[in-house]
């Protein structure tokens, strides 16, 4: 049984629980977070960061799906 990406059910990459596309999106989210912090010169909460990304048209659909997945996980954890 091949492990599936929880976002899209495609096969996972070895480094992550995500598939290659969503893993790439996740890495870009991480990299982007650092850029956002530097850009605003203050602490930007992940909540605000995600909130902005979800609302922006420029944000890729895979990025939005990963964020939705993270939010769902958070709801499950709550």
């Amino acid at each position: 049984m091949i492990a599936e990406c929880p976002v899209c059910r495609r096969p996972r990459v070895t480094e992550s629980e995500l598939c290659s596309l969503h893993w790439e999106a996740m890495k870009n989210i991480e990299k982007g977070y650092e850029v956002w912090q530097r850009a605003f010169g203050r602490h930007v909460t992940r909540h605000d960061y995600f909130d902005h990304l979800v609302r922006l048209e420029e944000t890729g659909i895979a990025v939005k799906s990963v964020i939705a997945y993270m939010q769902r996980k958070s709801l499950g954890a709550a």
Binding site: R9, E15, S16, E17, L18, S20, L21, H22, W23, E24, A25, M26, N28, I29, E30, K31, G32, V35, W36, R38, A39, F40, G41, T45, R46, H47, F50, D51, L53, V54, R55, L56, E58, T59, G60, I61, A62, V63, K64, S65, V66, I67, A68, Y69, M70, Q71, R72, K73, S74, L75, G76, A77, A78
Partner: protein
């Protein structure tokens, strides 16, 4: 009576050749078994002109194989009607040509002088005319005008251009080997695994081209925008308010932008430097096909395939020269003055033509690209004999204006730049305008230059900052390819040919691998590439394809042989296909999953159930027949989450999420009504729910608190 048989590529071309060779008489139309021939006379010699119907022969397996069998390495050339269904007309055509050829003692190939045309003529002469290829002559022309056709007939080349023929054969053979083996490997893998048949294809150029789309799509889908700030500034100079730019187009920190705003708001500064330069804008080069297609897409909105089709019609109507050319050069022998004078007879070009002729000697601004077979695309000067439709008219105008403007004088553009110092921050005022319009007036509808004129300025002149604002912006994802930029990419990567690229892009649409004018790869296209990269990356690698193009060009030049290139292709392809065959089960499993997913995709939402995280699907109540969104975790998680859906119209799950709640948007289309896009979740919940967001870890998992 001594008879010459001339073979052309298309029926329209046959008529033009016959008309040109009939001098003042109309050619006689003879019908043999339902196939038209045109008869003309050259002194005591009878001339019969016939046409092919594009390719009448194609590559096929040497022996008959079951549809499922692969690999297939042995091939031969066969009449198309023997290997393809629905080719009855082609069969009739070949039989008639063969019958009439028995009367001929002289043969001339008058098909288009390029790879495909040379191959079409060669096959008809070799097979339908029983070996006439060895004694046939070749007419070489770039327009279907009477003068050029008569000249090409009188000075027919003594033999066919065999290097061009062999290059054409090689391209078809290699593409066939790739296409049949790779496509069967994919189709059979899926069929053997699931027992279901689905046509899946890839090819030598198609695979790498699709890969460009998929990689771009991936970049867009995984794109995270980052903020930057741009300063918009208005300064008052000599009582006039003008827009200026900060020296840095983008500031990457909000603090830096605010600092400049605070330092400069309401302050005065001075003009510190002034710089003006005049530079020449050379006239455009004559059209090669890729540039014609790019301009037609940009200015007329015509896809490359459509613009090529229209250009070919204009060529067959004797209005322009042969469009499938790589050349940006116009030899003097085409008769510049004569063409310009003829174009001047048309109202639209009267003034322009007169101005050009008054310049004296006409010299076009030729580009670097050359094509040994044909010059750049140019108008013949012949007046249209029929009313052109709107698109034909516009493309014709583009070709004419491009041709005329290439003879124009260089335009001169003046660029003005002023540096303003405000509290040691530098702002730029930029102006530019055409000071000599020259060729731009000829190419006017397609040459767009905006003039920005600065007020008179002096060094040391005081300037007051009227308004300065920092605007938050975000980086943009790379753009989708459009049909024109994808063609340009293929050309830059040196894959495909000017004649085949547009067709390959079209195939991607037909196969369901690509969609939209701003081209996106579909999930099917993306997954096919993913599977091929995982199991056989060489298939979608541009390197081999690019090398092959070079070798085919070498065959054209006579420095490489077709047999050698085909043999090298087989050496390259055999281990690939064997490897694919060895992985049939794995590939079949992935393809089956993909096909199943595709079927499910049309009814499954991207966003999961907010209650249990299971997949949401569009479902129908078996009793009421009403449709709704339901949770697939109903049985597993006892989840009863549902959302209502509009009951009328067709539903389309958009690749867009609701800006309020992140739920997937749904579009409803009803006949005679505007489409409606809505979010089912917001519709029900009315307000956006508060989501708490977890911390991300490096592996992409969420930390649970």
């Amino acid at each position: 009576m001594a008879t010459t048989l001339i073979v052309t590529e298309k029926p329209d071309a046959a008529l033009h050749v016959a008309e040109a060779l009939s001098h003042n008489d109309s050619p006689k139309r003879i019908v043999v078994d339902g196939v038209p021939f045109f008869e003309a006379h050259d002194n005591a010699r009878r001339i019969l002109v016939c046409s092919a119907l594009g390719h009448l022969y194609g590559v096929a397996a040497k022996q008959t194989h079951a549809q499922s069998q692969y690999p297939i390495w042995e091939f031969t050339w066969k009449p198309k009607h023997l290997v393809q269904r629905g080719q009855e007309r082609q069969k009739k055509w070949l039989e008639a040509i063969s019958k009439v050829s028995e009367q001929a003692d002289r043969f001339i190939d008058a098909c288009d002088f390029d790879l495909e045309g040379s191959l079409i003529g060669y096959m008809v002469l070799k097979y339908a005319c029983r070996g006439a290829d060895q004694r046939a002559q070749r007419m070489k022309f770039s327009t279907l005008t009477e003068t050029e056709l008569r000249d090409a007939y009188a000075n027919a080349l003594p033999s066919l251009n065999f290097p061009l023929v062999f290059a054409g054969m090689c391209r078809h053979e290699v593409d066939w080997l790739f296409g049949i083996n790779l496509s069967r490997a994919l189709t059979q893998s899926a069929l053997k695994f699931s027992g279901r048949y689905a046509t899946l294809s890839t090819g030598r150029v198609q695979g790498p081209t699709l890969r460009f789309l998929v990689e771009r799509q991936r970049e867009i889908e995984a794109f995270v925008p980052t903020p930057y700030w741009a300063l918009s500034v208005k300064v008052e100079v000599d009582g006039r308010v003008v827009a200026a730019n900060y020296e840095d187009d983008r500031l990457e920190r909000e603090g830096d932008a605010q600092e400049v705003v605070q330092a400069c708001a309401g302050k005065s500064g001075v003009v510190e430097t002034l710089d003006s330069t005049n530079y020449d804008l050379a006239p455009p080069t004559p059209f090669d096909l890729p540039t014609l297609q790019a301009e037609a897409f940009r200015h007329l909105g015509l896809s490359p395939r459509i613009s090529l089709g229209i250009a070919e019609r204009l060529y067959l109507d004797q209005l322009i020269s042969y469009p499938r050319t790589s050349s940006q050069k116009l030899p003097h022998s085409i008769g510049y003055e004569k063409i310009v004078r003829s174009l001047g007879k048309q109202n639209n070009y009267r003034t322009v033509a007169a101005d050009l002729l008054a310049m004296g000697k006409l010299v076009p601004n030729e580009g670097k690209k050359d094509d040994p077979a044909h010059p750049a695309v140019y108008p013949t000067g012949t007046l249209p004999r029929r009313r052109l439709d709107r698109r034909e008219e516009r493309l014709y105008d583009l070709v004419v204006r491009r041709f005329l403007s290439s003879f124009g004088r260089a335009a001169v553009r003046r660029s003005d730049k002023a540096t303003i110092n405000v509290a040691d921050h530098y702002f730029l005022l930029r102006g530019s305008r055409l000071v000599e319009r020259a060729w731009t007036t000829i190419y006017k509808p397609y040459a767009r230059f905006d003039d920005i004129i600065l007020p008179p300025l002096k060094v040391g002149q005081p300037v007051h900052v009227r308004d300065i604002q920092s605007e938050e912006k975000f980086t943009q994802p790379p753009p989708h390819y459009n049909p024109s930029s994808l063609l340009r990419k293929m050309e830059d990567m040196d894959i495909g040919t000017k004649a085949t690229r547009a067709e390959i892009v079209d195939t991607l649409y037909k196969r369901g691998y690509a969609t939209g004018q701003q081209i996106s790869s579909t999930p099917l296209g993306s997954r096919i590439i993913e599977i091929l990269i995982n199991h056989c990356p060489k298939v979608v690698d541009v390197t081999f394809t690019r090398e092959l193009e070079t070798k085919i060009e070498e065959i054209e030049r006579g420095s490489e042989t077709r047999e050698h290139v085909v043999s090298q292709t087989l050496d390259y392809l055999k281990p690939i296909i064997e490897a694919l065959k060895g992985q049939e089960k794995e590939i079949g499993r992935e393809l089956t999953a993909l096909l199943t997913e595709m079927r499910e995709e049309s009814t499954s939402l991207l966003t999961p159930c907010p209650h249990c995280g299971s997949r949401l699907k569009i479902a129908k109540n078996p009793h009421t027949k009403k449709r709704f969104i339901g949770c697939s975790g109903k049985w597993k998680n006892n989840c009863n989450y549902t959302l209502p859906l509009p009951q009328l119209g067709s539903l389309n799950l958009l690749a867009k999420l609701c800006p309020n709640c992140g739920f997937q948007l749904i579009q409803v289309k009803s006949r005679g009504r505007r489409s409606l896009t809505s979010c089912s979740r917001c519709y029900v919940e009315k307000a956006r729910p508060a989501h708490s967001v977890p911390e991300l870890t490096a592996s992409g998992t969420a930390k649970r608190s």
